[in-house]
Symmetry: C2
Subunit: 341 residues, 2 copies
Amino acid sequence: MPTTTQQRTTILEVAREARASKTSVSRYFSEERERLSPDMQTRIAAAAQRLGYRPNRMASGLKGGRSRLIGMLVADIRNPFSVAVMHGVEQACRERGLSLMVCNTDNDPAQEREHLALLASYRVEGLVINAVGSPDRELQALVEQGTPLVLLERELGEVEAEVVGLDNVRALDMALNHLQAQGYGELLYLSEPPEQASPRQTRLTRFHQGIAARGLAGEVHCRPLGDTEALHHAIGDFVARPSTVPRAVLCANGNATLAATRALRALGARLGEVGLLGIDELDWCELVGPGITTLAQPTEAIGRAAVECLMRRREGGGERIAPARRVHFQASLIPRGSTRR
Amino acid sequence: MPTTTQQRTTILEVAREARASKTSVSRYFSEERERLSPDMQTRIAAAAQRLGYRPNRMASGLKGGRSRLIGMLVADIRNPFSVAVMHGVEQACRERGLSLMVCNTDNDPAQEREHLALLASYRVEGLVINAVGSPDRELQALVEQGTPLVLLERELGEVEAEVVGLDNVRALDMALNHLQAQGYGELLYLSEPPEQASPRQTRLTRFHQGIAARGLAGEVHCRPLGDTEALHHAIGDFVARPSTVPRAVLCANGNATLAATRALRALGARLGEVGLLGIDELDWCELVGPGITTLAQPTEAIGRAAVECLMRRREGGGERIAPARRVHFQASLIPRGSTRR
DNA sequence: TTGTAGGCGTTATCAC
DNA sequence: GTGATAACGCCTACAA
């Protein structure tokens, strides 16, 4: 049995079939379709249909033509928040006829650099980046090459790029206001190590400012969540310590909420009695105990906004470099039993 | 200020800088590096380094050279199970120097067809498919074009492709054995509509066979999970009906488990008293009530296996078409309080 | 071991 | 409106 390696049809074959030139066929599949005579259009449409023609994106990406490709760098694909944002990015891309190429860095700066180079080698037309480290050099190279960039949440050094994300300052204020209103007076703030990651920094700083301004007592645990021993220890101490003031744990993101919930469960703490509030809404928050109070981020909107920034950049691009901007979204509080005493 | 649209360096510039030919540079970046003299290698390495050269994947994907691109079609990116498998696929790709392009179809057959054509237009070297509908025609076209295909879980009509997934028959047997051993005698099987989706079919069929063989009473609710009213009604009826035999709900996948947990909570049912067992392990299953018993799938392994199949196909490809095969993985039971009375 | 020449499928330029 | 023709950056016979 012979190999049926049926070659993919090319623009040339369509041209022949439609008694037209390559140019016309190319035009038909580009923005310039209108410039063709109705008759020509029908012929090409029919021929393409018959032959099942599809432009080869690799080829069009080569010659000045656009690759129609957007790249996205995700720090942790298993984080539901990242996926939700990605979903928004994806939809916005689809609506614009763009394809999305997603790379997961698994929180590894080395992989991040590698992926960045990779995406560049595919000549993506824009890049949405949820960074782990600080690949300033690589990003700067991309910017100079003319690739529009959008950073999710964390802003990076000198890089000329838009930043889209949550209004972390107000988010933290909302959280603290709610906890205070519910009568919690001693707080434990739980976060992964902030290092350079700017949103974690912002949230942490605001936590400190916020408790000071409100006269609340507070402490902080900023260790890798993987170190469950340290975590259980910290939470255990916090909960067991004698005090007359109700206590609550404030989690900086979804992962922290998961870790805290596990720890509290292991300790046999009753949610609400020990308060619990997490940033990021998750499927299961309503199902655990009396429900976990969360601060939901408008994930889809964030994703869409990222693509919008990209496109705006591309339009205006070339001539003058627009100033880097910031787009901030507001969180919304979902009160549940974990902050009801 | 002039636009700094610094052109990306090409193979030609590297060649000049290294006093070599394009061919040699090309060889350096391909499998044939060893054929170059040590001196030549050093010169090229240095030049490439200096100029920050990276081969343009678009260009190399054009001429017979490989695109180094693997495509993946995901039915629902927000399903943690899909993401976990994707993570395995991703790792396997990385280890082989392949890039992964992921497309989410949002459970829409139309988008599925669209994305398939898209991936084809990028000349992917292999495709991992988690199908929603039955895009037989599109897939057949890809196969004939020589693209290796791997289907996740569901097998599709006549298409010549490997299938990787869970051993659903044994998984259901494990579930039923466990439920019976724990003393549950009446079961409600909860699934999304099976239609053509073969794993759902398989699981449903085995459920019917299994309860018959074991002398258990059973019924089935196969409606879209979005219809919460119907769902609550069904579960409410099931739970409230007078009977002397303990009852349990068996969920066909993670989404069903989520929906069932919500419904049971709304009904005020106590987990364990009403049994609950779900296929697919999720972050939160250990946290709800006494914990939800699950059947975990080896997701990473499934993803990796998919890529392995792809590669095997590509190696042996061309000459003779290997027979389509099936790779089955075993689930593992994680017993928790939801099936303890 | 190294280089030359042609072609991959498309788009851009410039004629007609 | 339409169509030759030259790039685009790389790979691959074929030569040397």
